[in-house]
């Protein structure tokens, strides 16, 4: 290790400490009482154009969550059909993805309002389809019944016209589930993302990576 590298590293560490001063405090007062329910979504307000960026936020901190218990059950069931627990990570619902989706569809922004309609209408369509086939709603169906429906709506390009709208809903719900899941610490670990840490230097890809891609000089 060269002398100049050691100096750089010391400097870096000094600044990491400085940066840590701007790290988020843990949700001060975030759970200090549930927010009062609001009559309509339009009464809720966004975080504005100048929110505190250094705070840590959780669903429900800024605007009320609005899933009914029935909607929450459907969301939970669908989340875990889309991303169930396996040997590397828990299920989506186990790490708060349902709360995130509730936050998303309850948010007072135009894109979220559009998604709110897609998601809540989609729950109804899903339940109707499930009831038609199996006599009860999606959340109360067994895994094979749920899979039977999901197989028909999981790919918009293959789903039949009658289910096209439900397939669109499924695609949107999958995006939210996947996006919600892989932004949790458990999801990040599952992907083996190893960044967002201060480094003294950036070394680029290790040799085994270059070898795998054929960039180690052994092929053109």
């Amino acid at each position: 290790m060269s002398e100049s590298f050691r100096v750089d590293r010391r400097t870096t560490i000094k600044w990491v400490v400085a940066a840590a001063a701007s790290l988020p405090a843990i949700r001060r007062g975030a759970l200090a009482g549930a927010p009062p329910p609001v009559a309509t979504l339009s009464a809720a307000r966004g975080y504005g154009t100048d929110p505190d960026l250094t705070r840590v936020y959780a669903p429900g901190d800024l605007w009320p969550l609005t899933f009914t218990p029935a909607e929450r059950r459907t969301a939970t069931a669908l989340c875990d059909v889309i991303l169930p627990a396996d040997e590397r990570s828990p299920s989506a619902s186990a790490v708060g993805v349902v709360d995130f989706i509730d936050e998303w569809i309850s948010a007072p922004y135009p894109d979220n309002a559009a998604d709110r309609k897609i998601i809540l209408d989609g729950f109804q369509a899903l339940d109707a389809e499930s009831t038609r086939r199996f006599g009860h709603g999606f959340a109360d169906s067994d895994a094979s019944s749920q899979a039977q429906i999901c197989d028909e709506i999981c790919d918009l390009s293959r789903s039949e016209a009658r289910l096209a709208k439900t397939a669109q809903f499924f695609a949107r719900f999958r995006d939210l589930t996947v996006g919600g899941f892989y932004t949790t610490p458990e999801g990040v670990r599952d992907l083996r993302y190893v960044g967002n840490v201060a480094l003294a230097r950036f070394d680029g890809p290790p040799p085994e990576v270059l070898r795998k891609v054929g960039l180690d000089g052994t092929s053109a």
Binding site: D50, T54, G179, Y193, G195
Partner: protein
């Protein structure tokens, strides 16, 4: 105190309106060389050191950090009180159609958009200052590359830019001591470089304003401020207060360790340390006021916290409020003498508004699937890029459009975000369940984007003027935009699409969606790349330009424009570095004229 209030304004040599790249550089140069400067900023005071969300994850933000109408670039983006729409500050478009619209980005905060920008820092080349001489279109600058080169040197040394000298056509090398070493390429960079080369596209080190090592505080200050030991000492101390990049956290959030350039961490602190710079925030400048002698006396501003109008005076006024805001101030500075707005005797004020041509393609590369985990954050932005490479073919008329573009691209195992797997069924065929988890692991890090950034030629149909009816919340008349692309831009956008498709194909990958062959559909709407330029263009003839080559208005001797409004062309090179080089050059000129008692 350097942050003043409307009641504590002092006596000033120069008023600088705006605090971003242009205002920051103008005020820095003036204050470091001894001029008394008042800077007015429409937005609030902003401190990156304490306000930047370093290391925060998307999961810690509302809506996983997604962009909203309140925060268009996502929750953790540095911009506050900014976006294409700002509450209470409307503007008007004559067409709502994508092809005829200009969306105007503003950032009402100290440092402006330098807090969130991409940090891409390219020099214009010799052709870029004389485009009309080369192909007969647009306008030549009243400057040559040689006029501006010494100022590019200085800005690179001051702010810190990584890059390499590749000696490519119209892509100037920097002298020794100007550039910092480029970061090591990521694996996706190396793969793009290898495969793009097969179709003739050169991929070289990117140039970005990020410190890959500490600035040389022992030698650079004397080069930047010769004969000025006070400025040298201040700058040396300031340079030691900037850390080099620690290879984490997105630059767009700003940087609390000052490793990248933003006006608030690089220009303003040393300028404030001189004691010569006062800053008035929340001051929305409405107009430039003239004295009885016909010279600029100062500016009238609205205090956004009280709504009260105030006036500041100085020996000279520099407008650096962003191209369109500068134009707006001048158009609103009407008087009996100047009924069409100030500095508008040519009738060209507001004319030749430009943005950058943008078009993007997204792809997935099987070779990059399932790679061993390793840290690819790097300097967070691009480590490499492809400068324009078809100058000869273009000049020979073989391409069907007259000006070039460069390619910014990126891939890698980046911090997972809400959008990392958006619409993933395009590669998975709609998987869910355990299979979807396996697919996410497999495809994570294998996606890549290509963004084209190309030159727009100024035209008669793209301009802004004052809307006769609409006023903002302060009662200030607002801008109305007219916009039209020419075929030079739309064909260029189609060429971008075709090229990106070919590069992805050479990489053995697949394109998301389809390659758009209709350039009018491939091009991003005006204003979306946020490189607004023109509107008060410089020239060598007072009959068809607003300022001379110093940014000095032809009509009012002590009125200068030191931002992107003076650009008579918009090369593919991102404009920020050139804005700063020109601002430094103009400020030097103002200092020189003041020393000779001519201002």
């Amino acid at each position: 105190m350097p942050f003043v209030t409307p009641r504590t304004l002092g006596q000033y040599d120069v008023i600088v309106v705006g605090s971003g790249a242009a205002g920051g550089q103008t005020a820095y140069t003036l204050a470091m060389e001894g001029a008394r400067v008042l800077m007015l900023e429409a937005g609030r005071k902003y401190e990156p050191e304490s306000e930047t969300p370093m290391f925060h994850t998307p999961g810690q933000a509302p809506l996983r950090g997604a962009s909203t109408t309140d925060k268009p670039f996502g929750f953790h983006d540095a911009t506050v009180d900014g976006g294409w729409q700002v509450p209470g500050e409307p503007y008007v478009n004559t067409s709502e159609d994508d092809s005829g619209r200009f969306d105007w980005w503003r950032a009402r905060m100290l440092g402006g958009r330098t807090n969130h920008w991409g940090r891409y820092s390219f020099r214009n080349g010799p052709y870029d200052f004389k485009p009309r001489s080369r192909d007969g279109l647009g306008f030549d600058w009243p400057l040559s590359y040689e006029d501006v080169a010494p100022y590019y040197d200085r800005v690179e040394m001051l702010i810190g830019v990584y890059g390499a000298n590749d000696g490519l056509e119209n892509t100037p090398n920097s002298p020794p001591d100007c550039l910092l070493p480029p970061p090591k390429p990521r694996v996706s960079d190396l793969l793009v470089a290898q495969r793009a080369k097969r179709i003739g596209v050169p991929v070289v080190a990117g140039h970005r304003a990020v410190l890959t090592k500490a600035l040389d505080h022992r030698n650079l200050p004397a080069k930047l401020h010769p004969g000025n030991p006070n400025a040298q000492a201040i700058l040396a101390s300031h340079m030691q207060g900037r850390a080099s990049c620690f290879w984490a956290t997105p630059c767009g959030r700003g940087c609390s360790i000052r490793a990248n350039y933003q006006s608030t961490t690089v220009h303003l602190p040393p300028a404030l340390a001189t004691g010569k710079l006062d800053i008035l925030v929340n001051a929305m400048v409405r107009e430039v006021k003239l004295g009885k002698d016909g010279r600029a006396r100062g500016v009238v501003f609205i205090d956004r916290t009280t709504g009260q109008a105030g006036e500041a005076t100085a020996r000279a006024v520099c407008l650096a409020a962003s191209a369109c805001e500068t134009v707006r101030i001048l158009l609103n500075s009407r008087s009996a003498q100047h009924p069409q707005g100030l500095a508008n005797s040519s009738g060209k004020l507001g004319r030749y508004l430009m943005d950058t041509v943008g078009s993007s393609v997204y792809g997935q590369i099987p070779l990059l699937e399932d790679l061993p985990p390793h840290n690819e954050d790097g300097a967070t932005g691009g480590h490499m890029y492809a400068p324009w490479w078809l100058y000869k073919e273009q000049l020979a008329g073989k391409l069907g459009f007259a000006r070039g573009y460069h390619i910014e691209f990126g891939g890698g195992r980046r911090m997972p975000s809400l959008g990392t797997f958006d619409g993933i069924e395009w590669v998975t065929g709609g998987s869910y369940g355990r299979k979807l988890k396996e697919d996410a692991r497999r495809y994570y890090g294998s996606f890549i984007y290509f963004d084209g950034r190309g030159e727009m030629i100024p035209n008669d149909d793209s301009y802004c003027e004052i809307d006769p009816e609409t006023r903002d919340r302060w009662g200030i008349p607002v801008l109305r935009f007219h916009w039209k692309w020419s075929e030079h831009e739309t064909r260029q956008a189609a060429h971008m699409q075709k090229t990106f498709g070919e590069v992805i194909q050479e990489m053995g990958g697949r394109v998301k969606g389809t390659i758009v062959t209709d350039g009018a559909k491939a091009i991003a709407p005006g204003g979306s790349i946020i490189h607004e330029l023109g509107g008060a263009i410089m020239g060598s003839d007072s009959g068809n330009s607003v300022t001379n080559g110093w940014g000095q208005s032809w009509d009012v001797e002590n009125l200068f424009v030191t931002d992107g409004a003076v650009f008579p062309s918009n090369a593919d090179k991102n404009p920020t570095l050139t804005i700063m080089a020109l601002a430094w050059r103009s400020a030097d000129h103002i200092l020189d004229r003041m020393r000779r008692k001519e201002l």
